[in-house]
Symmetry: C2
Subunit: 316 residues, 2 copies
């Protein structure tokens, strides 16, 4: 294997995937392990869909729809058009090529294979050298309580376009879930663990809720760095800013750091929030500021490089 | 409802569907009830597929691929391409638009709806006034014993392109199956029952094997007409000629008539087999000869008209 630090990344969907694309450009990909969120997995049209794992897969494989950040491009939706004509549910977009993956995954799950075994096979067939582990092979389902009632994650996020006000988040099944094979080892043994710029409450917490994961992070000797999901009080994508204000009082890097306080050692903030570097350093989190907006491949690689420089400089 | 005779048709796939398209052109479609074969239904990629029902639906809806006789046109296969890339089964062609129907049907079956209720909803949504009843809501599965061993119907027919020699045919589950709601009534009350030009052993027998169906036909007072599936010793499509030689000694209209002897009253043969008219009349089956090759819509209508003229002339 090529030399380089071993890095394990906790990642949700679009932000996590883009950070990973950058990381895979600056490190030997086989040195990278992703622990992916499965809290937003769900069943629709009888298919098991793992939106965050797929966003990571498609982004790393270079087939993602860059405009939306998820799904594939090129893509068609002929199956879904017919589903709609026949009265089936169409609020969750499923492209035809994307369906191919859901069909294969669902059938293999029904045959008794684990999500982690299937995911590993799929990423290999897509030609990916980055290792992708679902946080758990057991069902962990993010459920949100909102001003419109309690609902599963995709109903909140996609069907209602994350418009409802979130009052509480819970992870159904998490208490009895076990980390997927390799997860605890990847967290313990990596030279660096990175918490990707994903929604702390909706993308990272479902990973941390799997028994053993937070403990493994807290017990680590080595660095654990977060990349900020908020810039100047705004989420780059999605409702992270609103949830931070609701649950942490403010949508700031410091609030994210407090959320990860039990294990966080380093944090990369955006240049727009350079003032928070001192605030973070004052509470014992080593921090640096950089441009964290990951528009294209070179910007993504720069964010990854800045994260490695921040968190591994002492060891290098 | 528009005036006209009520006609119930036992139908398999392509030949049955083409005959039905002709019949719907010469009769008010709401006067037509189809009892469709479900013996070739099967599960692939976790989806319940009903190939014969779908061929009837697509043909009557005018979206069938006329060249192959089954599937849709226009159609794409992007999902199946990805299934193949990911190591899934691709020997059974599933187009993207076609998948839309399989997804809706499979999900509704899993929710506990009956195949007949789903089929009726689908045909209405496709704008069809012809009523389509699966022979049974219970699983009836055609299994063939061949020189390459025993296999399910689609493995024999599609995967091995009906190349193996068929030695026996059985219908798994038929003994305990009940006719779908409406089937026995449609057979008893129709002014005419037509056995479409479908494979007697592989498409019609699985319908006849459902307890009560053959009895309902035998008890009928009114006419039951078959349209020949063989012309000059050859099947128009598929292996009907080979199976007739194996199981009935010859691939002739007379052999088909003998197969249906317990209920058949009329038979339309091809002009190429005009000599068999006398042979059939001699055993008490009223027969006539016409062009039975159903290349286009007008030829299909002509076959339907010839069938009605033959079987209903006395009553008209």
């Amino acid at each position: 294997m090529e030399p380089g630090p071993d890095v394990t990344v906790l990642a949700g969907g679009v932000g996590g995937a883009r950070f990973l694309q950058g990381l895979a450009a600056v490190l030997p990909p086989e040195r990278i392990t992703v622990v992916g969120n499965v809290g937003d997995d769900f069943e629709i049209l009888g298919l098991h869909v793992s939106p965050d794992l797929d966003t990571v897969l498609y982004t790393l494989a270079g087939v993602v729809n860059e405009e939306s950040g998820w799904g594939r491009r090129p893509e068609t939706a002929h199956a879904l058009e017919v589903v709609g004509e026949l009265g089936g549910e169409t609020w969750f977009f499923l492209g035809d090529r994307d369906l191919g993956l859901h069909l294969v995954r669902t059938e293999r799950l029904r045959r008794g294979e684990t999500l982690s075994a299937i995911t590993d096979d799929v990423r290999r067939r897509l030609g990916l050298r980055v290792r992708l582990l679902p946080a758990s092979d057991d069902p962990v389902r993010t459920v949100v309580t909102t001003d419109r009632g309690e609902m599963d994650f995709q109903t909140y996020f996609v069907r209602y376009r994350h418009e409802p006000e979130v009052r509480a988040v819970r992870f159904e099944g998490a208490d009895g879930a076990r980390p997927a094979p390799g997860v605890l080892g990847a967290l313990a043994e990596a030279d660096l663990v990175v918490v990707a710029p994903s929604n702390p409450f909706l993308s990272i917490d479902p990973i941390l809720a799997v028994p053993g994961v937070t403990e493994a992070l807290s017990r680590r000797g080595g660095p654990i760095a977060a990349v900020t999901p908020v810039v100047a009080g705004r989420a780059v994508k999605g409702p992270a800013d609103r949830l931070l204000r609701t649950f942490a009082g403010e949508a700031s890097p410091a609030a994210v750091a407090r959320h990860y306080a039990s294990f966080l050692t380093h944090m990369l903030v955006d240049r727009a929030d350079a003032a928070s570097v001192d605030e973070l350093e004052a509470v014992g989190v080593r921090a640096a500021a950089a441009n964290t907006i990951m528009r294209d491949r070179s910007a993504r690689a720069a964010v990854a490089r800045a994260t490695l420089d921040l968190a591994l400089s002492e060891e290098r």
